[in-house]
Symmetry: C7
Subunit: 95 residues, 7 copies
Amino acid sequence: MKLVPLFDRVVLKKMVEEETTASGIVLPGQGDKEKPGQGEIIAVGPGGLVDGKEVKMQVKAGDKVLYSRYAGSDVELDGVKYVVIKQSDILAVME
Amino acid sequence: MKLVPLFDRVVLKKMVEEETTASGIVLPGQGDKEKPGQGEIIAVGPGGLVDGKEVKMQVKAGDKVLYSRYAGSDVELDGVKYVVIKQSDILAVME
Amino acid sequence: MKLVPLFDRVVLKKMVEEETTASGIVLPGQGDKEKPGQGEIIAVGPGGLVDGKEVKMQVKAGDKVLYSRYAGSDVELDGVKYVVIKQSDILAVME
Amino acid sequence: MKLVPLFDRVVLKKMVEEETTASGIVLPGQGDKEKPGQGEIIAVGPGGLVDGKEVKMQVKAGDKVLYSRYAGSDVELDGVKYVVIKQSDILAVME
Amino acid sequence: MKLVPLFDRVVLKKMVEEETTASGIVLPGQGDKEKPGQGEIIAVGPGGLVDGKEVKMQVKAGDKVLYSRYAGSDVELDGVKYVVIKQSDILAVME
Amino acid sequence: MKLVPLFDRVVLKKMVEEETTASGIVLPGQGDKEKPGQGEIIAVGPGGLVDGKEVKMQVKAGDKVLYSRYAGSDVELDGVKYVVIKQSDILAVME
Amino acid sequence: MKLVPLFDRVVLKKMVEEETTASGIVLPGQGDKEKPGQGEIIAVGPGGLVDGKEVKMQVKAGDKVLYSRYAGSDVELDGVKYVVIKQSDILAVME
């Protein structure tokens, strides 16, 4: 079974923070600023007309991204944690 | 008696969480993130001009979907639980 | 005396919950989700340009509908309870 | 002295609740739903471009209307109570 | 020194409530509804494109107006109290 | 070093309140209405397309203005206090 | 590894406050006004259609800027602190 996102949503596989440290990114623990999560894109919605506005998808499956933790919905499937999130809540691609 | 949704709304039959576990999806219980519900689409509104914006319906009866639990209205009819929800609150189709 | 709604509003005669149970719909009592009300449409506004957006009326007098309880205004006239509500707060027609 | 409303506003003379009961409308006292007020239209603004949107005035002096009590501003002039309100906060004309 | 308002703003000289009573308008003191202030227009902004929308100025210096007390900014200049307010917060012209 | 504002922002040098009294403007200390600050414009952004809307700059360096104290960001540079503010939060030019 | 921002976002390297004082800017510590942060732009998104509105990027890598501290997301990579922020939350370029 797989998740097919609608509109401008993408499905991310969450990257756990241990991997995070290994990859060189540390999310700071102090302050009240938002701290982004990291994930790998698994599936990308079709884009198109979203709330009356044309949206082009700019990310693709396999991209590793930083995303806003305050956005999106958590889903666990066969023991893997996913996040369904709008493309506009993706902050940056990690290259 | 059946429910015919207006505009961009759809009627979902709620899938109970026991079925959920069986289908391999577990909704995580901790944290303050939104956790989606699951349902099967029973009826789909006509779309068209919604709040002055053109909306095309992208889901159809029979689709199994994840939807935002914070959205929509619960209705119980002949002992079956339904949710009336806007298409834009559907996160992903489960295939 | 009758009520003639403006713009995209409709006047509903409220259906009491006893009728509701008889008709097979039970509104669940637990949880913090919105629970819709039921009503019969008595009068329909002309639609047209509402807040700068074109609105076409899709319901008609006689339709039995589910509507959002958090929307609209209650009015009692000659002992009958009415709700004046925008068409967009109607969730579904019951057929 | 008289009040000339701007844009899409109208000036209503408030109808007191005693008149209200006489006319057959009773405003329910329980619940947290909004309960509309009643008034007679005294003056109507010119309509036209309001917040960048074209508004056509659909009510006229002499109309008796139900209006949203949470909207508008109260003014008392020579002992008579008026409400200055936007046309879109008028719910229905009473005929 | 004088105040030249930008965009769709106007400068009002506040009319004190004693003058108010003399002119026959009494602002009611009870309830939680908004009660308008009164002022005489001293200067009118140029209008034009405001927040991307075309605004035409419909009031002129010398007009006596009712305005929303919750809007605008108070300024005192040479002992006279002024309010700088957007034209859309003017409720009605008093003629 | 100088500050070059983007879009529809302007940089103001704050005028202290002692200067204020000298110039004849007194900001009233009572009530919960907003009280504007005063400043001299030091730099003006280019205007143009801001949040999808065309903005023309109507103020220039040297203008003395009243501005909304609840808007903008304070910066101190070489002992001088500046405010970076959007043009739309400027209430009036003082001439 | 580097961060490639999407849409109208930019990646800033945060400038610490000690550098800040050295460069002559002191952020005031009193009051409840927003105090901007300082950063050097490392990467700039492509701009284009953002939320249905055309955005042109007006800053470039190397620019030193003041930005709104209440906006954006903190990320630490190889011991360096970055902020991912929308261009519209940049207040001014420091030249």
